[in-house]
Symmetry: C2
């Protein structure tokens, strides 16, 4: 019997593709094996198990998403950067729903594996870089980053869950949300007196 030539990476990609096509929930050892023309037991040479595979898909997706954002925002600043950043984020979620979902699962990733991934640090740098033009200083910078990430993620998550039912298209609301966030970043409120920093 000829060998299938599997590697950890090929198994991960097969799982990620499957996730995009049929949903992350349906990504199963058996299905991935079937797609690769192999018996399910054979995957355990390359991947520790289903949890491990899911973690690897999440890391793969996070890296891809960060790369897309980096490409989209290079050379931009201010509102242009904000819009490019957010749009690249949303489009990645649309184009790769299964992969995107994988990135949002509670952290069960092998710490050692995660440590090898360059994605997270790069993502943080990108986000802070995008905000450079707004003149925020810590701790406002961190708070602004968290607010933006929350909004971007929340929007695409609600969109995917069918949360924006009728009438007005999500696209219009998205555009206006970015207008609003840009305005907000330009008028970031000072701390109320008495409020802890």
């Amino acid at each position: 019997m000829a060998r299938a030539g599997l590697t950890t990476e090929r198994v991960t990609i097969a799982g990620a593709d499957l996730a995009d096509e049929v949903g992350l929930e349906q990504v199963t050892m058996s299905q991935v094996a079937r797609r690769l023309g192999v018996k399910d037991a054979s995957l355990y040479t390359h991947v520790r198990g289903l949890e491990d595979l899911r973690g690897r898909i999440a890391l793969l997706a996070a890296g891809e998403k960060t790369l897309r954002i980096a490409e989209a925002t290079v050379g931009l600043a201010g509102k242009d950067a904000l819009v490019a950043f957010a749009t690249a984020w949303r489009e990645y979620a649309h184009q790769h729903p299964g992969r995107y979902t994988a990135t949002q699962t509670p952290i069960d990733i092998d710490p050692e594996l995660a440590a090898h991934a360059p994605g997270p640090r790069r993502a943080v740098e990108l986000t802070y870089g995008m905000l450079r033009g707004y003149g925020l200083a810590e701790p406002d910078l961190t708070d602004a980053v968290r607010l933006l990430r929350s909004t971007f993620h929340g929007f695409v998550a609600l969109e995917a869950a069918g949360g924006f039912a009728h009438a007005r298209t999500p696209q219009r609301s998205w555009t206006r949300a970015l207008d609003a966030l840009h305005t907000l970043l330009e008028h970031w409120p000072p701390l109320d007196e008495g409020e802890p920093s």
Copy 2:
């Protein structure tokens, strides 16, 4: 053998409790049955299957969350209402992680079942009511509602996924995010010329 006295509601609650304790993924027919002291096949009298159960948990949770928010915001307006609304939302997510997760799963709920639920309409009313004081008109109102929901949901989702790693506590960022959103609602940007409404 004495009867266990199951009902659809009791099964749903058992599932919801289990979800909060061990995670929605672990909510399984067998586990729910075990918790109720019953064989798994017995549940099918009360619930159509796992999908159906998940949908019912989602509806239960959505109703509970809406109720909490309603109680928290009654009689309040302006920033007080915003903070109470958002905090009730976040606290529900903290106290009932499994239930909350159920509300965010892509829509696979039996439409007939969903139609009977009073939750969604009530939730919409609450949100629009909270914004009344800010003097927004459609379509800005809808866009603002969507932005707020996105941010609230995104924040708790990232928090749950371990997205706010170190250093600054999520609580501080949360407080500041609400400050920022309040400011934003008071200075909602007008449409750029040429931008479609």
